[in-house]
Symmetry: D2
Subunit: 373 residues, 4 copies
């Protein structure tokens, strides 16, 4: 236990003016001000008391984004759409303005003349300046940009997410990939992060259909029920929905979804998973799943689920959780993929695949971060 | 490892001509004959290899029932209703007839002049004769009778399920209560079982809605999502549906359901659970659940599930599992409530309440039965 | 066609500070001011152009209620709950205040010493004074009070809804019963209305599950599919949910629901319909229906529906529709039950039961009101 | 009314050994023998009494198919899969064998050297021989072959369905297209049928999701509710599912589905409709629909439906209905598209689009066929 004042910790968001980032910044402010209970924030649970995580009030936000709409305006748009509570944008206007002032343009833009190396250095310089300017003990870079298409095999340029991951390493930062983008999976990057003693975590936040599948699929395996087909359809509007209307982006997303099923069931069952862009739904998403399974003597049975959630509200608290956990891991000198974070991701770095087991591993990580194990 | 021939083990079914019992007898025969893979049979999984469970072929069936329709006829009715595969009753006709020949009338009938003590002795004598006649090493009594109403506070007579449980003790048998009836919960019985060195397990098999709830409820708790209301409706026909149309029987069933939610969520949420008798559905049941929960910043979200299953096909393999596990526990000298069986029950003798944790405890029991721990 | 300025028409709401009434008053103001398109307002459709209905701007609101919270405050509560758009209460504050000033206390209160006749006279005097004060050509009384229990057979007092219906007749007003309460069904009242040359309509607005059933049930009949069971569960919070938690109130509601099925299918199928009060859902309601039907050669099939709607937003436009239609019918001298309004009610005065046929009858009424037939 | 013995009428099925055809032949036999009530058979309703439709017993089956498995064997497979009742194939074995003996190979096979004209003549000759051989008064050709891909714009060969339609004309037969294939829509064919005085009907039987949409979509329009998005997913196994896994075949199917929505709602809403091949489901199909709509003041609401049906059991009685109706229309000298049959089709020749209105038109046709109008 320490009597020093707690350190200030940076959270650098790639895609800092998106819906998830805006909800993260506004939500942190609301929780720190006591305006809302910490519903949905996993690290607010008793298991994380004493784990040395940075308090919410000590987080300082900045990030990259190419969109010009400032955060206070974005927050108003989200309140209008029912994603943020009415009145919240006004109540946390100062926090939103302060974070917005720390947003840098990012890139690369289509006609950007800079080489990949120049871009990485520029991004890293932005992060370093942010840390120095705010007197931060350390910074966690969190990738939240719109889903990136699966890179074409013959594309000579690195995907943007890989440049940002490289910049995180160059700036000496822990790194979280909350999207299905390449990020730290680009050739050589994970090794560089490990050599630099930096922890990282990914990828693709588990916030809806895959969360549910990770909770349900083990039930079938444990009961020796034979899942014959698992089909699903996701309907979502908002920015992510538009991005996922691109089949290559959807492919990136679906790879993680399929893996969650196959890892839990042993085999990949029949069935497709669709992601439909339905602008009328705004930031809300609906996921329908249909599971056809065989019981005793081949009797055919069916489970259906419908999940109706708000994407940003599901993702934002996990962003805060991961930033806090990675900051602490970094402070303790952990490097490479942090074990025990599969609970948060569709396509995690490490097994196990079942949600309950993942939660157990997360509690073990909490003990480790607390020095209890 | 032994070179002796495996022992023959009795399975004495209370309600031996009901749908679950008929499916259990027919299904065992089908599996033993290699006609079907052991889908839905938990103890067929690799974790139970080496646990010393009696092989399916060594099980010998008998039981009590007051209904006159013989098992071969009951099996045909179930095949007609799509519960058993067509052709199966004929293929396993010998097994059905053999089990039917071991069924005794049971009771008490409305005008039965015998005292409780006389009934217990008569039931126990039936079981003892069955064991002697068949040269059984031991017998497990499994209570499968129609759901019994919650006993009225001032009723001087013991409920029938308690008489059968007492008979199991008197006959020196392990005991499983697969229904919400009183059974071993009657005053003094559990103590007598323990003194007699008999293992037992209960109560109320977890085969549908509560199975799903035990898999899903921990997800909300682990993610710190606030469940505000959990509502549900069960539609079922068949004998159990008719019984549950009696509000006092439904009350017995629902107590277990409510406990599963409260134990997993910490608090009992708003919401009711209905059980409707819909004769048109026959042995099939449909359970709809609606979960209203709050996410980050109070955002309201909803999960709905629909489970469509065949009651007997869900229950029967678990009856085989429990008979095998209790026989082995008895052979090893375990007595009292067998720990690690909460996985099978709505209202188990021991925590934990979450399905994944219950499965872990079951694996620990497998290790113990195997002498691996 | 007339060149005179349109007449002003009163709408006197029984239950004038409830959610439906508040939404009706606020919504009319929003539409009249052009703030929203007339979504959900049936009489805004082209079929009603030229039918001589009073324009929305000419409606003047008043009513009875025993609750003290004024309409502007009620509207803010509804906006907070997501029922009214944010900002609307402020935008139509004048309209809300003006209507609130016309609300009288109503009754009877539990210890009210007045006789039924005195109450009817007092209510009628309130309505007459409202009409005189506002220079109204005529007034339509609309019953919106909380669902009233089914009257006990031996209760000597008339139910409150009957007193209000009698007051409407005494005040020479057209009358609409939007609830399952007794209203104009009390002995002798319908005859008195007819003698007084007053039109009326009822009962119990068809806004959710029964609307859907009236659209779907004819499909089964037309295709000669045999519905074997139609089961349903309604979850709702809000005031109506609390009222319906009283079994006698739910019974009143369910009578209409069952009639809609029986009339459309020829026979009443198996299955129950539950109404659960779930406060967490606020003014939102969810209705799940499960229809088990037989197809060719007895093949068993299932249709399930889930309807998630906002009760007040579903009901309020129909209140405006009915007030406009009854005002016009009154002006044209129609008396007694107005034919062609079954489209709006669960338990209508006249057949047919199918939604499409009811819509056809409504269009015929529009023609009649327009003098086109 | 006639005292002559009723005429024998041929039903020539293109795709005569498919699931729908097999169910049609077996089902007719079961109904004629009184083994099952005529559930799902629209023309069994009282409105069609006296319409002069050929009795079921007078129908004689034949057809084209390239598959070698005989009908008795196909029926057994369907009984095994739960599509036909167990025991039915045996009970109607004679009928199945008799129809199978009338099946001719059809085509064209991939390497068929014959020209289109030669194929048409050969098909027509098969039909003519069947009619002569059986002493039939007339024959109705019903197209039931697997969904045909949308023809490529530059394909010089006519699609197979057009060849069969031409053969029907050449053989002087009424014609029904129960699939989305081109059939009578090929250039010039409809004109030839009209010149030849032949009635026809199409296309694409309305048996599940679109049936439901045609019943529900008018409700939204009648209530002035604004449908913003209508999304859907179909899961089906069986032969049709496999065919529809080809995107060009699915495109043909979906064109009809989209039209049903657009015609009923005035506008085509947002949302996609998927058709997934899920072999595990066999002949069963599940259709999930999600309708996002706006109510009063823009309040967002949702309707979801899940339809679980057996494709062949839904289609087969309609095939019998259409054969009977077209035979009677032919006998009365109607030619060209028969009005009043939109009730049966996804993509009908004539409006209206709503199911209730379509049913009214069908009843008008019944009156016309009966000489009542």
């Amino acid at each position: 236990m320490t009597t020093e004042p707690p350190e200030r910790v940076g959270v650098w968001l790639i895609g800092a003016r998106g819906s998830v980032a805006t909800t993260t910044v506004a939500g942190r402010a609301a929780l720190a001000a006591g305006l809302h209970p910490p519903t949905g924030l996993v690290t607010a649970g008793p298991a994380f008391a004493g784990a040395g995580l940075p308090p919410l009030e000590q987080l300082v936000f900045g990030g990259h984004d190419t969109h010009p709409t400032p955060l206070p305006k974005r927050a108003e748009q989200l309140a209008e759409a029912g994603v943020l509570p009415h009145g919240l944008p006004l109540a946390v206007a100062d926090d939103l303005a302060r974070a917005d002032a720390e947003i840098r343009p990012g890139g690369p833009q289509p006609d950007d003349p800079r080489t990949d190396e120049e871009l990485v250095s520029a991004f890293a310089a932005d992060i370093t300046a942010f840390a120095a300017h705010n007197g931060l003990a350390r910074t966690v870079v969190v990738h939240l940009a719109s889903t990136e298409p699966v890179p074409a095999a013959d594309d000579p340029r690195a995907p943007a997410s890989a440049l940002y991951a490289a910049a995180a390493i160059e700036a000496g930062c822990a790194y979280v990939n909350f999207t299905p983008a390449t990020g730290m999976h680009a050739p050589g990057l994970a090794e560089r992060a490990a050599r630099a003693g930096l922890p990282h975590a990914g990828r693709d936040g588990k916030t809806g259909q895959t969360l549910l599948r990770a909770a349900l699929a083990p039930m079938f395996a444990q009961r020796e029920l034979a899942v014959r087909a698992w089909s699903g359809t996701n309907l979502l509007g908002g920015g992510d929905g538009a991005t996922l209307a691109d089949p290559r982006a959807a492919a990136a997303k679906n790879a993680g979804k399929a893996r969650a099923l196959a890892d839990n069931l042993g085999d990949e069952p029949e069935g497709e998973t669709h992601i439909d862009h339905v602008p009328a739904l705004g930031d809300w998403k609906t996921a329908w799943d249909h599971v056809a399974f065989d019981g005793f003597l081949g009797t055919r049975m069916v489970l259906q689920t419908t999940w109706q959630g708000c994407d940003s509200a599901l993702a934002a608290p996990l962003v805060l959780d991961l930033a806090r956990l990675l900051a602490r891991a970094h402070a303790l000198g952990l490097s490479g993929p942090v074990p025990g974070l599969g609970f948060f991701f569709k396509d995690p770095d490490t097994p196990p695949p079942g949600l309950a087991e993942q939660h157990r591993e997360l509690l073990a990580l909490a003990d480790r971060l607390a020095g209890r194990s």
